[in-house]
Amino acid sequence: MTIADESRSTPLMDAATETVQLLDPQGVRTDHPLYDSLIDDLTPERILALYEDMVVVRRIDVEATALQRQGELGLWPPLLGQEAAQVGSARALRDDDFAFSSYRENAVAYCRGVGLPDLVKVWRGTSQSGWNPYEVGMATPSIIIGAQTLHATGYAMGCVKDGVDSVAIAYFGDGATSEGDVNEAMVFAASFAAPVVFFCQNNHWAISEPVGLQSRGSIADRAPGFGIPSVRVDGNDVLAVMAVTRSALDRARSGGGPSYIEAVTYRMGPHTTSDDPSRYVDPLQHEEWAAKDPLSRLEAYLWSVGALDDERAASITAVSDDVAARFRSGCLALPEPDPLSVFDHAYVESHSGLDRQRSQYAAYLSGFAS
């Protein structure tokens, strides 16, 4: 089957739904009748803290890519361009909320309090999960596309059963919206009024496939068909992302059930360090999105309100350099796993067949000892 040519090139932006924006690409604050009140409490100092998060996660991202190029990481999935979508939503969460993500949500992990070297354990190959999910309220990222949306929905169903007002948030991308699991998650979430927020980062690319191949219409417009209210937000506007996420979280906490957010952003880097976007990305489109950079608009805004000056900018740069240095040294210091730990945790209670394999392999390895 061939896909009509226009589906590969038609931008998604012809949807009827508005795109919520509170900060335009030049850094000018725009008013919004519904969402302004949701970020009333964000003083310039607090917005500056969001800016620092975004600078730091971009710096981590650069450092991780360097580590991969130097052979220290097997792979790295850069988040360049998606800092506002991730920081704005993650900083809207409460500690007792729970995030279920895909593999690119390194800024979400950072905001949840994941330790610096823990961000790269999976990519350095020392373990399959960087952190204990219960210590940070964030599940081990799902590599299988879209699978985690069901986990988030089930977790949210459990929150209702437990009588708590915690919320689950499911992070996924535009490519995942084609997966059956994401659609099934929306069916279950709607039927059981689960307190889950579906947070889709439409970064326009699923490796090399443009969003137009996943959906001929607006991605945000899909959710209402499942009985789930939906909003489209400028994913490069951290204030707007935080506002709509808070709105969705409030709705979930107060028994209103699931919501769906499409954060429209752009993957400015490759899918992973193994990818070559020059084979498929239109340089003009890339340039267009570079002008909508999430950090530069926030920086311009903070300068304009006097929250940022040379001294503070230098201080944030110093913080991010320090984080990068600790990130690098922590990565390089990660211990090699013990060979026999390959047998650990396959089962809560091991069994004699597996114990036999472990014992036989230990005997085999001991033959190399001298």
């Binding site: 069901l150 699991d181 099934e184 945790h345 089962y347």
Partner: protein, 332 residues
């Protein structure tokens, strides 16, 4: 001790599990008001509420996937897959998530799910209501796979499976749902252990699930000819209790394995390989497998040819004993 059917023994096992642990929740299609298409969950929603006995939308991947999320939150979900052939939409969540989460998270996140699956043929049904997909799951590290053949084992093993902190695929032999037997709710044995159902000395017949009764019929018929068969109900397909089977094979020197599932890559292959390895010098004949053929499950009027029966098991017994059999004089 009360006499009851295997289906009702499963139901009473679920009831006890719901009573014993308030984190246990049942999920599945038609399990609530209807009580399940085989009535295994009859009355449970009425007695425990729709919050704990949940009728779900028709989406197997979501039944398993949301159970993963519930397990993340400390629940102990029991999922019903309505029929064997309907499990495949949930396969990814079972194999890629349920089986691996504990390993992936270095023990931080447990997946104490029980996934109940009515399986096997012999009821004159369509293909997707007659399959035996256990080998897919026995091949997957991180899962436990069990099956029962008696009301007692059905009740005991289901409660053990639910109490188990590892994920368990619980295969229910649907053509034996109406088999009657005594059930002692307090009876216990280790989950994962095989059972010598009837002792014998001439050959070991390993069966599980629906074919245990068939193997016992074969043993009775063989006994009429003076042949003593030891029938073992494997019960646990992963891990396999090789120690029990090994002891039997060392004694008899002959091994016949039977299952409804297709032969290639099946449980019989694993049993034959491991027992040949462990008992090579005790074996008097090559282990024989009596299984479904390597074809998709056939139309109902052909299933009697596909499914192992008493005569095919006895024919294999003749082969391991070196007696005249259907392959005497046969060549490819």
């Amino acid at each position: 001790m009360t006499e009851t059917t295997l289906a009702k023994a499963l139901g009473s096992g679920l009831r006890r599990a719901l009573e014993d642990d308030d984190r246990v929740v049942l999920m599945g299609e038609d399990i609530g008001q209807l009580g399940g298409v085989f009535r295994v969950t009859d009355g449970l929603q009425r007695d425990f509420g729709a919050d704990r006995v949940i009728d779900t939308p028709l989406a197997e991947s979501a039944i398993i996937g949301t159970a993963v999320g519930l397990a993340y939150r400390g629940f102990r979900p029991v999922c019903e897959i309505q029929f064997d052939g309907f499990i495949y939409p949930g396969f990814d969540q079972i194999v890629a998530q349920v089986a691996k989460m504990h390993y992936r998270t270095a023990g931080a996140v447990r997946m104490p799910l029980t996934i109940r699956v009515p399986y096997g043929g012999g009821i004159g049904a369509v293909e997707h209501h007659s399959e035996s997909p256990e080998a897919y799951f026995a091949h997957t590290a991180g899962l436990r796979v069990v099956t029962c053949s008696t009301p007692q084992d059905a009740h005991t093993m289901l409660r053990q499976a639910i109490a188990c902190d590892d994920p368990v695929l619980f295969f229910e032999p649907k053509r034996r749902y109406w088999t009657k037997g005594e059930v002692d709710e307090d009876y216990a044995f280790p989950l994962g252990s095989a059972r010598v159902v009837t002792a014998g000395s001439d050959a070991t017949v390993v069966a599980y699930g629906p074919l245990v009764a068939t193997a016992l019929d074969a043993a009775a018929a063989a006994s009429d000819e003076g042949i003593s068969l030891e029938v073992i109900d494997l019960r646990s397909l992963s891990p396999i209790d090789f120690e029990t089977v090994e002891a039997s094979v060392r004694k008899t020197g002959r091994l016949v394995i039977t299952h409804e599932a297709q032969q290639s890559g099946g449980l019989g292959a694993e049993l034959a390989a491991t027992l040949t390895d462990r008992c090579f010098f005790d074996l008097e004949a090559p282990p024989q497998r009596v299984t479904g053929f390597d074809v998709p499950y056939p139309a109902a009027r052909l299933e009697d040819h596909f499914l192992p029966d008493l005569d095919r098991i006895l024919d294999a017994v003749d082969r391991v004993l070196g007696r005249a059999n259907s392959l005497s004089g046969w060549s490819a």
